[in-house]
Symmetry: C2
Subunit: 476 residues, 2 copies
């Protein structure tokens, strides 16, 4: 018996695999026809615009754990209910609460100049009155890693590489984000007094870009902040003169205990398989200098807009649709991880998911991480969004985007709807993240793509491979 059991299990697994290959997931032609109508309807619908206009106007910034974070949850719950979702609920998300009170920097020698600066999330404050120290500059994170600690000790480390704009946002992942997230920890390990970077952005505005940083375990955190790009230029012009340069940095900020917020979830109930669902959304928290329009009011708005046009159809799709406004994505996907933990056991019910978190400019590419026998269905979805200008890259993974990447990691099949981020990093995490940066026409294109994808996934005959641990090895 003991020997037979594994054989039986193996046979069962093989059968399951064969069955999946033999019965490819398909989307019925009638659903494809309905999707074409949805596409046109979405291109004329302003539900998404109204949502993000309302959230940014009536609430504004939504720093995780702040008073406005709670205000935003109430606002979203009320709006979800007003939009007629069948069910609206919250699920708790707990995380360390980081607060920002004030931030100032200036060069004190060899020239007196004010510097536009913003503290990074997770940064501790400086002692009252600030830190005044000499700057030591590095061109890259690698140069900092290679530096002898005696060069860095008690100094303000500055790391200055520039990000360049790309449709696929490439420089953020390669340059901006690594310097911001890892630089302060490396500088702290070498005994630096504080850390400054050239903002992880592609603009030349005198508005610094914030964002979170991570300190490795065992490292004593040091104050860490971003200079606007013109201020970083100024520092570099001064340093080129070969004279020592001194900066005064005063940050009043830091982690203060824990906070319990929530993911806000809205559901349109499916007509025949209500327990299964397509999941989409964005994150409700934002950084505090702007009003969180492109990051990520737009993401929730797009999902809401898509659900709204689908809800106008004569009948609900077979499966349910879930829209999630995730809590505290910015400090480390807390909302996504909480959802993943809460729903890991029944992850097979989350048939496919896609989160929008790249602004509001048009979607230009679709990729997916699904089981092989669902590839044809993904190709059907891709064909249905192709008239909206979306390419299909069948060879790249689709990890479902920010918070949902955490859900994908526990086994949800992933769809990635890639937005053009050429302009996104001009504004991202800065005071310039405001409503005027959203182009209503491009926003509607996003809604149309999401509406089509959500509807077709909800109507598919067969699944996309969601199962506990199914995509554990998937890397973008």
């Amino acid at each position: 018996m003991l020997r037979k059991l594994p054989l039986l299990l193996a046979a069962a697994l093989t059968a399951s695999t064969v069955q999946a290959q033999d019965a490819p997931t398909r989307i019925p032609e009638s659903a494809i026809a309905t999707a074409a109508q949805l596409r046109e309807r979405a291109l004329k619908d302003d539900t998404a615009w109204d949502f993000v206009e309302g959230l940014t106007t009536e609430v504004g910034q939504r720093l995780a754990g702040s008073e406005n974070d709670a205000k935003a949850r109430e606002w979203v719950i009320a709006r979800f209910k007003a939009l007629g979702f069948d069910k609206v609920w919250t699920e708790p998300v707990t995380y360390p609460k980081w607060v920002r009170r004030s931030e100032h920097a200036r060069m004190t020698a060899p020239y007196a100049q004010p510097l536009a600066v913003t503290a990074l999330g997770n940064s501790p404050g400086t002692p009252a009155g600030g830190i005044t120290a000499e700057i030591v500059a590095f061109e890259s994170l690698d140069a900092l890693k290679a530096a002898r600690p005696e060069l860095v000790r008690d100094k303000i480390v500055y790391v200055g590489p520039r990000m360049h704009a790309h449709k696929d946002g490439g420089d953020y992942g390669k340059v901006g984000s690594p310097v911001r997230t890892k630089g302060p920890s490396i500088a702290a390990q070498k005994g630096a007094a504080a850390f400054l970077l050239r903002s992880a952005g592609t603009d030349d505005n005198r508005l610094p870009h914030t964002g979170t940083t991570d300190f490795e375990k065992g490292v004593t955190p040091i104050p860490a902040a971003a200079l606007s790009s013109p201020d970083a230029d100024l520092v570099e012009h001064v340093l080129k003169r070969g004279k020592p340069a001194t900066i005064e940095l005063a940050l009043d900020c830091g982690v203060e205990g824990e906070y319990t917020g929530a993911n806000v979830i809205a559901e349109l109930r499916g007509r025949t398989r209500p327990n299964e669902y397509f999941i989409m959304g964005g994150h409700l928290d934002s950084w505090d200098p702007g009003t969180g329009a492109i990051d990520d009011g737009a993401g929730i708005a797009i999902s809401v807009g898509a659900a709204h046009v689908i809800a106008q159809l004569p009948e609900r799709p077979k499966r349910s649709l879930r829209v999630v406004a995730f809590a505290n994505e910015e400090a480390g996907l807390y909302g996504g991880k909480a959802y993943a933990a809460a729903h890991a056991k029944e992850i097979a019910h989350a048939v496919l998911g896609s989160e929008s978190d790249g602004g509001a400019d048009r979607i230009w590419k679709l990729t997916a991480s699904v089981k092989p026998s669902a590839r044809d269905a993904i190709a059907q979805i891709a064909a249905a969004v192709q008239p909206l200008g979306v390419e299909y890259d069948a060879n790249a993974p689709g990890r479902a985007g920010s918070d949902l990447s955490a859900v994908h990691e526990v086994g949800m099949a992933g769809l990635s709807l890639h937005q053009d981020t050429t302009r996104y990093f001009d504004w991202h995490h800065s005071a310039n993240d405001t409503l005027d940066k959203i182009d209503p026409e491009q926003l509607r294109q996003n809604v149309a793509v999401y509406a089509v994808a959500a509807y077709l996934a909800a109507e598919a005959e067969g699944d996309f491979g969601s199962a506990p641990g199914a995509f554990a090895q998937d890397k973008e």
Copy 2:
């Protein structure tokens, strides 16, 4: 006798006019050939860049009357001397001193939102703790003018028209500048508590644009400030909801006595007619949010660069060249008016002048206000700069630019070298007026145009019509 005198005078005037028409001002061919060499040399010369890089890096903002204003004068005097000008001197300029200490605004109802704001020059401060009042909005200055005082009394007036970008800066003169300079005075006359405008700029950055405002005689000044364009949008989105909106505005600023600064003047001495000169320059003062790179470090830099390449020639031009770093242009052409007053009697010595105060993007058009018999010489200058992409509009006046327009008004012949201002008003008077906004290649084109024009004017046989009162009626 009494009757004959006017006749004699009339005859003399006629003779003078006829003589001027009979002997047109000409530029010798040898000078035209030298100008072609200058043009090429200027396109490779970085003296202008080094000047503006130095001024913005080593001094930074230069608010008229501030500590940095004095620092900048010392810096410029030292740089002029180091560049080998034959003579460097200052002439005093006295004006009311306006100071800015702090500025804050926020919406308090119906939604709590911070607002990015900057006080206008000449604005008084609010009482400590600020003013809190309801907003009343107007689409244009005309709408405000037409408003019944009871609609405005004790309220914060907001005027919100948008500027659009043009090569010739048109919307600034038509929209932005009138609202800023005249709006507060009109609102004050109707009993408003304070005045806000949508920044006089063409950008969508969350950086307000400052600039001076004027209060008419007898009007009690009220606090006046500019919102960044995204903040103006926010106010308008709130007001569209039809609910009363309340703003708290706290400005700590105001006029505090008088200050005596100076125009800083450098001269390259002419080889045969040293008392006559071509005059060029820019203004040394800047607004304080940025570092005064495009407004107007670039203007002085361009003139310095032009003088520098001319100084490298084997011999000096016939006439002298003057480069002026004018004091306090921003609050009302104080430097230009002081120069005009000090030199009015010998204004005929200022044969022609052109001030650069439109940034550092390329010069695309040349216009002039000169006596008719100097038109051919202007056409010769235009032909010499035509290879640099400069058009000649023979029918439009040329009032010589900002401060020099005040000198033109007392009789100096004027040359206007129009810069492309498509990008200028994105940054003008905001924190974004920083060195990175200057394109070194376009800066060199400006230097080349100024070098050619200055040299040819200094070599002309005959004058351009400068005489006391000669251009009193000239309007651009």
